[in-house]
């Protein structure tokens, strides 16, 4: 791997190493090549061909995502021939689906829409002819509209190669080809585990998060990076916030360890509790057998007085505290400090064993 060689992309001389694709080298050097089917970390399939580039000496245009670089390669990414091919591909993709941006959840974050705009296509030359599949609306988490699917296969690859859940694949062939679980089942009737990775991977509006629909446009949403509050893996996730509410949870591969953008059903769809109307919202003190609303001051006074009395009468070891494996480090630290320094007991534990 230590050997290096030189290639040329759009007249720029670039030193690189074997084993990389044209696309990788271009990206590293700030040269734009559009992609749709490419998903880093998965097999390069060269399915959509929008990354087509000219390579000197090659018989036809080559897919930059799949073609490894060779010493002395001369590549052109923006010739008229390349532009023409890309435009044709995008027009065909557009015309073969129901890409109605007005109500599409992906409007503003759609890679096909971006490409149409970038290539300046007003209308496809071909008749728009969507396949007419029914929209799959049979679960509360993921909506699947295969009329918007461009068959890039990213969902199939993330499901099989990254999550390794092995649920999604292509079925049928030619213009009838489609993606989905075995036997054309709906997600909810398949062995799908609802990790949502396929939705994150989808470049268009074919797979969207149901609860986020009509809850805010992509540009209105603020993504807040945090650590998931469920298990001990500590996935880095983006809480997507609009109008003070978490509308969906997404992953980001660039966040790196520990999860590289992946998550599970709980992190993805288990956040309803945050805005639940069952949440405790005010301190409560038991009076005459019933829990009654109180102010923080009343609650603090009540606790301080009771604890002090019990400590004076029975000693600090008559008091114990259970801290929490759900709370932050800072809170666990403070809790044990409170029990030890303020109450004067080592009776502090949490549910590590349960």
């Amino acid at each position: 791997m230590s050997e290096t060689f030189t290639i040329h992309i759009d007249g720029q001389e670039i030193e690189t190493v074997p084993g990389k694709t044209i696309l990788e080298v271009a990206l590293e050097n700030g040269i734009y090549i559009p992609t749709l089917c490419h998903l880093s970390g998965t097999t390069n399939v060269g399915a959509c061909r929008v990354c087509s580039v000219e390579v000197e000496g090659a018989r036809s245009l080559v897919a930059a995502c799949s073609m490894p670089v060779n010493a002395g390669m001369v590549i052109r990414t923006d010739t008229e021939r390349v532009q023409k091919a890309r435009r044709l591909i995008v027009e065909l993709l557009w015309s073969s689906g129901d890409h109605n941006c007005l109500t599409c959840e992906k409007n503003g974050a759609c890679e096909l829409q971006d490409l149409v705009y970038r290539l300046g296509i007003e209308q496809p030359r071909f008749k728009i002819n969507p396949p007419g599949y029914p929209v799959e609306d049979s679960n509360s988490m993921i909506v699947r509209d295969l009329n918007k699917c461009i068959l890039c296969g990213r969902c199939v690859r993330v499901c099989n190669e990254v999550q390794v859940n092995e649920v999604l694949d292509f079925s049928m062939r030619g213009s009838d080809a489609k993606v989905g679980p075995a036997f054309d089942a709906d997600y909810i009737d398949s062995n799908c585990v609802f990790c949502g990775a396929c939705v994150d991977a989808c470049p268009v509006g074919a797979l969207t998060f149901k609860q986020a629909r009509f809850q805010g446009r992509p540009w209105e949403i603020e993504k807040v990076r945090t650590t998931c509050g469920y298990c001990g893996v500590g996935c880095q996730i983006d809480l997507n916030v609009h109008d003070g509410k978490i509308v969906k949870v997404t992953g980001n591969r660039d966040y790196g360890p520990p999860n590289y953008g992946q998550m599970c059903a709980k992190g993805r769809f288990g956040m309803d509790f945050v805005h639940s109307d069952r949440r405790l919202t005010t301190p409560l003190i038991r009076k005459n057998g019933e829990l009654e609303e109180a102010t923080w001051d009343e609650a603090f006074d009540y606790i301080a007085e009771k604890i002090s009395t019990i400590r004076d009468e029975h000693g600090p070891d008559s008091i114990a505290g259970f801290s929490s494996a759900r709370a932050t480090n800072e809170e666990n630290y403070l809790f044990q400090k409170f029990m030890r320094a303020v109450i004067g007991t080592n009776n502090v534990d949490h549910c590590a064993r349960l």
Partner: protein, 526 residues
């Protein structure tokens, strides 16, 4: 974990024992499955249930619940007998090997087969695979720990790993996958009866003096009560007050009836939580807390990585961050805690905790750091015990197999083992409010083997009553060969089918962990 999650994908072999990884740690399960499918990494699964991971395994050891020590000793017997151990490692890095060897001698594969129910040849095969693979990683979870022999089980995994030179090397290790988001951090922060932060012992005069100086108080030297001890103390009346922050012992603890009686006897029960639950119903004071999405701070994950928690939305009503509530009570008790932010508190932690000293907020803004991280220019620690164990030499423990506290008999002929399912979490207070999770898993299902179901006249989807010497619960049946004949499985997420009315409140003598993985029960169609 001694090692890191990412190392699973460079290991030469993965040995998963007592971990239903695809359901409890799905993202780590993906690492295992990628290793198997894309690198051809051999996978050995040891589990009484035919869990999803078995589908990816080269070898599945279906041992009887509670026989882990025997199984591991059996593997070690083969490794020693066939001279597959890493003798140089044993010589230079460990001690007490002779004692181990002496105990292991009688655990021949045939002897172990009688205890575990695993064919002797499979034990031989597993031993040869583990020892012969280069660097092997052991992964485990509560299937190893939730036994009266929990500590023995953990030590046995360490014995096996050391025997083959797999501790202190990349891709190896003994790796418990922690079940709760910050259970690692709660331990690191000293939310335990015997230690301050970073496992500094309260009984150690030097450590205590350091904290006394920092906090400006005199501190008790005697270790305190664990949760189960505290419950007993409340039951018998010596414990008068209990402050519970973000826990639900009324569903998570064994023998719930005992817990309920104990809590009712308290003069003061303070419960601080985000949602009402079984425990808040008994409280004298309930304090509304902000959830993880409503505050700043850090969690420490299972690979010791300290990562940021960030505020995304406002807390509802008057709910406050737990740290603000603690500080509020403390102030009223005459000990002001004047922190202005979570970062402020972290800086105090860093000053008192060598392993966290280098973990400054500005360093973990993007990627978390793994402790030990001794200074601000320390890169953090990917795997522990490199070149030298924390205690010096790795200590082999010679461990005899001991059966579970309660074994099936004429009256209670089945083994009940408990755990989680993919779509729910712990006592279900959070996950059961999710529409999607409830849609995927609306109710508790008891897994019963088809052979047993037929004998007892239990039908799939029908109601079944599970009774033990402690109590009984009723739930719907799932007839499946995921469980072996004579074994039933149930999760603990559902309050209406609270399995901990049935479980056995017996504990590991050292770790005080309850034996949730084995108790004897009777089944009847209900």
């Amino acid at each position: 974990m001694t090692n890191s999650i990412g190392e699973i994908e460079v290991s030469d072999l993965i040995f998963a024992i007592g971990t239903n990884t695809t359901e409890n740690h799905p993202v780590i399960a993906s690492c295992i499955k990628r290793a198997v499918r894309q690198r051809g990494t051999p996978l050995i699964v040891a589990d009484p249930r035919n869990i999803d991971l078995v589908k990816y395994a080269d070898l599945w050891l279906r041992h009887r619940p509670g026989t882990d020590v025997a199984l591991l000793n059996g593997m070690m017997n083969v490794i020693i007998a066939e001279d597959l151990a890493d003798n140089e490692y044993i010589e230079t890095r460990t001690e007490n090997f002779e004692a181990l060897k002496a105990v292991i001698e009688k655990y021949t594969p045939e002897y172990v087969e009688n205890i575990c129910g695993v064919p002797a040849d499979d034990i031989r095969k597993a031993a040869r695979m583990y020892a012969g693979a280069g660097t092997s990683a052991i992964l485990y979870t509560m299937g190893i720990t939730q036994h009266t022999t929990g500590v023995d089980n953990v030590k046995s995994t360490a014995n096996l790993a050391m025997l083959c030179g797999n501790v202190g090397v990349e891709g190896g290790g003994v790796n418990p996958l922690r079940g709760q988001n910050n259970v690692q951090g709660a331990c690191d922060m000293g939310a335990l009866p015997n230690v301050y932060t970073g496992y500094q012992q309260v009984a150690n005069d030097e450590a205590r003096a350091k904290f006394e100086k920092a906090w400006g108080v005199t501190l008790p030297a005697q270790p305190g009560l664990t949760i189960v001890d505290a419950m007993d103390a409340a039951h018998e009346g010596s414990l008068k007050a209990l402050y519970v922050m973000g826990e639900n012992p009324m569903l998570s603890d064994p023998d719930i009836s005992h817990v309920e009686e104990a809590l009712k006897r308290l003069d003061l029960l303070i419960v601080q939580d985000i949602l009402p639950g079984e425990t808040t119903k008994l409280a004298h004071v309930v304090l509304p807390a902000a959830c993880f999405a409503e505050k700043e701070g850090t969690f420490s994950n299972t690979e010791r990585r300290v990562q940021r928690v960030r505020k995304a939305v406002e807390a509802p009503g008057q709910a406050r961050a737990d740290w603000e509530i603690i500080a509020g009570i403390s102030e009223k008790m005459g000990y002001p805690m004047q922190y202005t932010s979570a970062e402020d508190i972290m800086n105090e932690i860093r000053a008192l905790t060598p392993s966290y000293a280098g973990i400054a907020y500005n360093r973990i803004d993007k990627t978390g750091l793994q402790w030990p991280c001794l200074s601000e220019d320390h890169p953090g620690t990917k795997f522990l015990h490199k070149d030298r164990f924390t205690r010096g030499l790795g200590l082999f423990s010679a461990i005899e197999y001991r059966p579970p506290a309660e074994e099936p008999d004429k009256d209670y002929p089945f083994v009940l083992t408990t755990g989680r399912v993919l779509y729910h979490y712990h006592t279900g207070t959070m996950s059961r409010l999710s529409k999607g999770m409830t849609e995927r898993c609306p109710e508790s299902l008891v897994e019963v083997n088809p052979v047993d179901a037929e004998k007892l006249g239990i039908v799939d989807g029908g109601s079944v009553r599970i009774s033990s010497r402690r109590g009984s619960v009723t739930a719907k049946t799932l007839i499946t060969d995921r469980v072996a004949p004579g074994v039933v499985f149930m999760n603990f997420h559902f309050r209406e089918a609270a399995v901990n009315l049935v479980t056995n409140p017996v504990f590991d003598p050292v770790a005080k962990i309850p034996e949730y993985k084995v108790c004897a029960v009777r089944l009847e169609a209900a």
